[in-house]
Point group: C2
Chain length 434, copies 2
């Protein structure tokens, strides 16, 4: 029976039951952290070969004959760019490798727009009223970058096909102050949605009023499938080539969730025109990225097949965790009709939408009982979830036994918060009994 259809007394009884369970959790003093999409130690062990790799080769010459220990090669080793080319769908000679953080490369591209401009336009720092489109719920660290640079961030609803393209098309066409759009196009953070072919095609045929509008295409989970029904993302670069809009997107990827989050290799790809502009910046900024780490990755991964093989190992560790999360939510919440959640085919998150006005309360209850979730609201620009309903669950880091406990607690908190909300809506207090 749906909670909302129950009599007040029934809700009160359910609440008391949940509260008892909650208090039992409190007694146990859990300390679990599910706040971030961090791989667990077992996943990191899959890539230990990265650290062995350099020992298999007594020399340090890259394919150009240069010593990888020394300065040089501003855009990184060609073999590593080749691997990224398969992941990003852009030719290897249009890829620039960074160090360990694709986020840093996104920050740098926003910074480039600010200090030097894109497409021959005035730098953003000399333009007024800058806006950035933020499909929401989305990735908090994306929003933090555009907030840091003072953009007005416009939330765009996430649909099952990706962001609301009607809205995006209208906004970029009408408003020259709209300069960019954040996208996680495959297994989106946190909704798990892969953009539909039509969505990708509509991105490729955008007609922005601003010539310096750029799509920030953060393909963070391109090879991160978790089930037997993996999703495929249409190649945005190829679609853009068909439309002559290849200067619109900037592509980002990394091996953070393939090898090591703290010590992987990041990459940026773009049209020849965009790369030309960025070449100058990168050449002035550094003499080159860490090539030894690229060499380690090349010797360990070999090629894109090596990447897919490694990702099978990640799936074996992650899939049971995702199944556990989804099945716990279903068993505990489905009948009551007080929440909806994603059941993603890949990526790092389960997206949970609780009853409007309940997300902050759920996260706070969990925290009080020792389980840290991502802050409620963090998935929206400025941390403001208009419905206060979205919660991002990151199942990867805790061992499965701890995850099971955390999920039971989370469901208890969702039930408590929903009861409180409904009772309060009916003019009945529940909080006083807590």
């Amino acid at each position: 029976m749906k909670l909302a259809a129950m009599k007040t007394e029934e809700i009160r009884a359910l609440y008391e039951e949940a509260k008892e369970q909650y208090e039992a959790f409190e007694q146990r003093g859990l300390t679990l952290n599910m706040a971030r999409g961090k791989p667990c130690a077992k996943q990191l062990d899959l890539a230990l070969g990265v650290l062995e790799a350099l020992h298999a080769r007594s020399e340090f010459a890259n394919s150009n004959g240069d010593d990888c220990r020394n300065y040089g090669v501003w855009n990184g080793l060609p073999e590593m760019r080749e691997i990224f080319s398969h992941m990003m769908g852009v030719p290897a000679d249009q890829i620039i490798l960074g160090n360990n953080s694709s986020l840093q490369m996104m920050f740098d591209c926003v910074s480039q727009g600010f200090t030097h401009g894109f497409g021959g336009c005035e730098p953003w720092s000399r333009q007024k009223r800058l806006k950035f489109l933020c499909p929401s719920p989305g990735y908090d660290r994306h929003f933090a970058i555009t907030e840091y640079f003072g953009f007005e961030m416009i939330p765009v609803p996430m649909l099952k096909t990706g962001p609301d393209m009607d809205l995006i098309e209208r906004l970029v066409k009408e408003d020259e102050s709209v300069k960019g759009c954040w996208c996680v196009p495959k297994y989106s953070n946190p909704t798990g949605v892969t953009y539909s072919d039509e969505t990708v095609r509509r991105f490729a045929s955008l007609k922005p009023a601003a010539k310096d509008f750029r799509i920030f295409w953060d393909n963070a989970y391109s090879v991160h499938d978790l089930t037997d029904t993996p999703e495929t993302l249409l190649n945005l670069y190829e679609e853009c080539l068909k439309n002559g809009t290849e200067d619109l997107p900037l592509f980002f990827a990394s091996t953070s969730k393939i090898s090591f989050p703290g010590a992987g290799v990041a990459a940026l790809a773009a049209s020849k025109g965009n790369i030309e502009g960025l070449h100058k910046r990168f050449n002035v900024q550094t003499i080159g990225p860490d090539k030894l780490n690229q060499l380690r990755h090349i010797l360990f991964l070999h090629d894109i097949e090596g990447v897919h093989e490694l990702m099978q190992g990640h799936r074996e560790i992650l899939e049971p965790k995702f199944r556990l999360v989804v099945s716990t939510l279903r068993e505990s919440l489905e009948e009551l009709g007080i929440a909806r959640w994603s059941d993603p085919n890949g990526g790092y998150f389960v997206n949970l939408d609780v009853m409007n006005g309940c997300a902050k309360r759920v996260v706070s209850l969990c925290k009080q009982a020792g389980v840290i979730l991502t802050d409620a609201g963090a998935t929206y620009p400025y941390g403001l979830d208009p419905n206060d309903s979205n919660i991002r669950i990151a199942p990867s880091f805790p061992p499965i036994e701890e995850l099971r406990e955390a999920m039971v607690l989370l469901c208890v908190c969702v039930r408590m918060a929903a009861c409180e909300k409904l009772l309060s809506d009916r003019g009945v207090s529940s909080r006083e009994t807590l």
Copy 2:
């Protein structure tokens, strides 16, 4: 006998002799590169232990108990910051570690001034007519950064005690548009000069008109001594503390010329106030630098004593090369009085000043005979050496036998160019004979 005091016929004879030697070099088809201060392969081999280091430790926990393979620790591992603290003279908790490039951290600080500003002032992007002081000859990659951001670069003469402080004091005091000054304070690139105690104290007592003026203190060669008479640099941070000017300097260093140029660890240090401002930027920009590479360095170097020990190895390789360069210059050029050069106690360069108007010609002659030197003028802002006399010699990379040949050729070219210049000054042509 000084060349300038010779009779025209004597000069012509000397020229013909040099030209013959030059032509013999041309026949041999050398291909040597002395353009950049790159360590040689033998030096890089000294740090091979860095690559072994992680195997000595089956776990990857840092001193905080976190897994260094994973995300986190925005400012880097404390043990590595401690090592840099000794090199930079700033407390470890005021140090932020980057990835492999201190140049990138300098670029980022200039970028920060541009997009967000320093000292609570308007960002530089909103101010007009920005200027930057460039002690010259200096480091071309420094100048490339300030050129990229559109600063007007003001050359400041380098004296034996460091930059001309009378000029710097006057310029920063009088002109609010002067926003910064590049410094390589120890074994300066390329002059080899270590700033005198008085120069450091005068930097610490600068009274800039601009509250957002910053000293970019690139202490790239802090432990790079080459002789039994190493030079010491007064601690700028401590001098600033005495004056309450600790917000003036930003300190940079790296292990690029300690471990690996392409895969070392870089660091930025500053006052608590400056670090607070930069903390926000770094936290938005990245989830943290490559901690595995820091761990490798910690396990290999252990502490500052380990650094000094390693640098002895570098000295053993480099000192004979520097001696060879200086003795060849002395033997071939001293008597003629047609050049001056440095005999540095450390660093990576020998600074050569040939007769005014001859540097470009010398570099071009060398190139034609197969020896690539740093472009003439590169050591000055915009590549403009007003006297066309400065040449930067980078002896580290070539094996000593090749260096010997290159130096003989260089001296032949210096003699040729000087003869040409003097003959031309006297209205006698020499070029036609070439």
